[in-house]
């Protein structure tokens, strides 16, 4: 059933407005204009902090926000925080006001961008036209936004098709989303066809970027590079193309070119923290320490008022300080990072840098003790990025001369991820750095043997009707590789068969759920885990 359509004018009247503007005279003028445009309730805030408090307290339908808000957060940072923390909903219109057209207007990634920019001076008629248009479009697109946020790519695609069929007024936006959704759903030929048809009509920057991503996916790095170089030449302010090109250059091993490119991008948009941070990482990898230090310091300053976590500049700069003989400076930075961010990654990676600093200060016992703690902590993590974080910690431990702790962590990682080629390459390199070249390969092979044998055994035992023995075989594999999703899910599958054959067992059911939960935490998009849970539910619901 469809709800009766509300005229956009009624939506304006019913909406709560928030106006964020630091310049008092302008605030008065804009508020008057909003009221004359049909708004009835308009709250005002004079800076980012005041606005954040108001956004937290009340759901607003329209936010009109100046980009320059004086000291503290700027309009873009406020928007990112509001989206990140769900202070605003998918139908909220965010209108950014600027005095002039600047690169920020084209440099924000599409998902971070406001719904529209208004250039000052703003006239009443212009404001009203834009508001009506935006409120209408935004509510038409709200369903798609909700589906995308819930990662329901199929549902979002379905809604895009409906928008197209209904003759959407946001054609370009719907097309862009459709292409993105095809990418998410692994339907690359469809994404490619869509980008190509958009490019037939004109030199659209986002379609060039998308097509380059299609080529990267197909392994055609040279083709992607050519396309992106064209995009950068033809749309020199479209900074997302620089980011993608930088990542292609990195994969191709062109570190120097990557640094040069990012330097250009940073000159164009000096206020983008994540780009400064990327430049720092690239420059550090190339041994260009001065440039890395400048970029990291700038990124730290820029993120002071941002809600989005970025650890790289802290970690990179701390390492630079320690290596330059100033480990106490590094410790200060790690402490600041710990105050600013409370994620597990922040805590763990901060500790790893702390090990490096302690070792450099000559506190060998302290460094070794902390390194030992870190191994246990990082092995325990069950997040999708946990293995990569642990590998990175191992690398830092090697550099901080903690070979024992590093080896232990690498052993653990290799055993649990024997089936992850990308991670194995990384651990293999780390083993080689310690002169333990063969260790990684041997370990991985042994783990693979152990897991494969356990799975083969369990299948034979199942076939022979001995489900209990099959379960035992996988349980022992699970004990030895507690973070391997394949082993965990195989165990769950056999446990389910056991339950079905031998009836209820609260302990086994709990153990099964536990295995699935760990596997899901490690790989949230694994379809098999969700499938097993459903089967378990069907079985336990059955009379």
């Amino acid at each position: 059933m469809k709800t009766p359509a509300t005229a956009p004018e009624d939506k304006l009247r019913a909406s709560e407005f928030l106006l964020v503007e630091d310049f008092e005279a302008m605030r008065t003028v804009l508020k008057g204009q909003l009221l004359r445009c049909g708004a009835q309730r308009v709250d005002t805030a004079k800076d980012g902090r005041e606005a954040a408090a108001m956004l937290r307290a009340k759901p607003y339908g329209v936010v009109m926000c100046d980009y320059n808000l004086g000291p503290g957060k700027n309009g873009q940072q406020l928007l990112e925080e509001a989206r990140l923390k769900n202070w605003i909903g998918p139908a909220t219109v965010w209108l950014m006001i600027t005095a002039e057209k600047t690169s920020i207007m084209v440099s924000a990634a599409a998902e971070d961008a406001p719904d529209d920019y208004l250039l000052k001076p703003i006239t009443e008629s212009l404001l009203q036209t834009r508001l009506l248009k935006l409120v209408e479009r935004k509510s038409a697109m709200a369903g798609i936004a909700v589906a995308m946020k819930a990662q329901d790519w199929r549902g979002a695609l379905q809604l895009c098709d409906e928008q197209m069929a209904a003759g959407t007024k946001s054609l370009a936006e719907v097309l862009r989303l459709q292409a993105q959704l095809y990418q998410k759903l692994d339907e690359w030929p469809k994404a490619q066809a869509l980008y190509e048809s958009v490019l037939q009509r004109g030199q659209i920057a986002w379609a060039k970027l998308g097509l380059a991503q299609v080529r990267v996916h197909a392994g055609d790095l040279a083709g992607a590079r050519a396309l992106l170089q064209d995009a950068v030449r033809e749309h020199p302010q479209y900074l997302e193309a620089y980011d993608e090109l930088a990542s292609v250059l990195q994969t191709q091993g062109e570190g120097q070119q990557q640094v040069a490119l990012l330097e250009r991008a940073v000159n164009l948009s000096p206020n983008s923290a994540h780009r400064q941070s990327a430049l720092g990482v690239a420059a550090q990898a190339q041994g260009q320490h001065d440039m890395a230090e400048r970029a990291f310091s700038r990124a730290i300053k820029l993120t002071e008022f941002s809600a989005v976590e970025d650890l790289e500049p802290f970690l990179g700069l701390a390492k630079l300080h320690t290596e330059a003989g100033a480990p106490s400076e590094a410790q200060k930075l790690i402490a600041t990072m710990g105050q600013r961010y409370d994620s597990h990654d922040a805590q763990l990676l901060g500790k790893a840098e702390q090990v490096r600093a302690l070792q450099a200060m000559g506190d060998k016992a302290g460094a070794a003790k902390l390194a030992g703690e870190l191994v246990a902590l990082s092995a325990d993590e069950t997040t999708p990025g946990a293995a990569d974080t642990a590998a990175r910690i191992a690398e830092t431990l090697i550099e901080a001369q903690q070979a024992d702790a590093a080896t232990e962590l690498l052993n653990y990682l290799t055993r649990n991820h024997y089936d992850d080629e990308r991670l194995l390459k990384r651990t293999q390199l780390a083993f080689e750095r310690m002169g333990l070249g063969a260790s990684g390969g041997d370990l991985a092979a042994a783990a693979r043997r152990e897991a494969t044998n356990a799975m083969k055994d369990s299948m034979q035992l199942m076939a022979a009707g001995d489900t209990q023995a099959a379960l035992e075989s996988l349980r022992s594999a699970k004990t030895s590789m507690p973070r391997n999703t394949r082993v965990l899910l195989n165990f769950a599958a056999v446990a389910l068969t056991c339950l079905q054959r031998h009836g209820r067992s609260a302990t086994l059911e709990a153990e099964m759920r536990n295995s699935i939960a760990t596997a899901q935490a490690l790989r949230p998009d694994d379809a098999r885990a969700a499938d097993l849970l459903q089967q378990l539910k069907r079985w336990s619901d059955a009379p």
């Binding site: 003028v29 002039e100 001076p121 008629s125 212009l126 054609l171 749309h235 020199p236 164009l268």
Partner: protein
């Protein structure tokens, strides 16, 4: 420090002030609307018009500065022509009403979206509309149609037309600005620069000036055309 950096920063700041002045004037006008307009109303209209000119000049100065520094965020995107035209017309409408002019809008039926930089071309057409409103006797017309060269956006009026020296000189290059004539040439220089950024295959955007009589879309007075491939 390079003086142009100061100029750019000051222009940015001035633009904020101009925005507030323009909004106050618009607000005042809304409150003093009487029939027939009083002398105070007419001078407020003139003040608003002058403010818009200052704003237009600042926008163009800043854009030229950025284009030449390679810092302008040039961003061609699909623009819905009807909406685009309505926003521009909305900006001149108060002035048009007070001057008692007839504002016409002529768009070829079923025109699809066109790809160009909305803000850049918007300020080119805007400035030209303000000029037309200033010099028109009775009528100003904005029209859009597709020609063999692409999208033609035209602004025509029924005033005296452009002075001879302007037509002769055409669109000044940076060195060719003639300060003796009282026209800075900024608007024309900017228009050509902005149109020229638009390219498609071998075609490049362009601008033309004409005085009426004879050409399509004219009203007998000044006739400004920007064509985008």
């Amino acid at each position: 420090m390079d003086i142009s950096t100061f100029v750019a920063a000051a222009a940015h700041d001035m633009k904020n002030s101009v925005s507030v002045i323009a909004a106050y004037l618009e607000d005042a006008l809304a409150k003093m609307a009487t029939e027939p307009p009083s002398a105070a109303t007419l001078s407020t209209v003139q003040a608003l018009y002058e403010t818009q000119r200052v704003n237009g000049n600042l926008v163009q100065l800043m854009a030229i500065f950025k284009i030449e520094e390679g810092m302008y965020p040039f961003e061609p995107a699909e623009v819905a022509l009807d909406e685009f035209a309505n926003e521009l017309l909305g900006r001149v409408r108060p002035l048009v009403a007070l001057k008692g002019l007839d504002l016409q809008y002529d768009i070829q039926a079923d025109m699809a979206d066109w790809i160009f930089d909305h803000d850049l071309i918007g300020s080119v057409v805007m400035q030209s509309l303000f000029n037309a409103v200033r010099y028109a006797s009775h009528t100003v017309r904005l029209s859009m149609r597709v020609t063999e060269h692409g999208l033609a956006i035209e602004v025509a009026d029924d005033g005296q037309g452009f002075p001879g020296f302007m037509l002769e000189q055409g669109f000044p290059s940076r060195q060719g600005i003639d300060t003796r004539t009282g026209s800075t040439g900024l608007g024309l220089y900017f228009s050509r620069l902005a149109a020229g950024l638009h390219r498609r295959g071998t075609q490049t955007g362009s601008t033309r000036l004409a005085n009426g009589r004879g050409s399509t879309g004219d009203l007998g007075g000044g006739h400004f055309i920007v064509e985008l491939p």
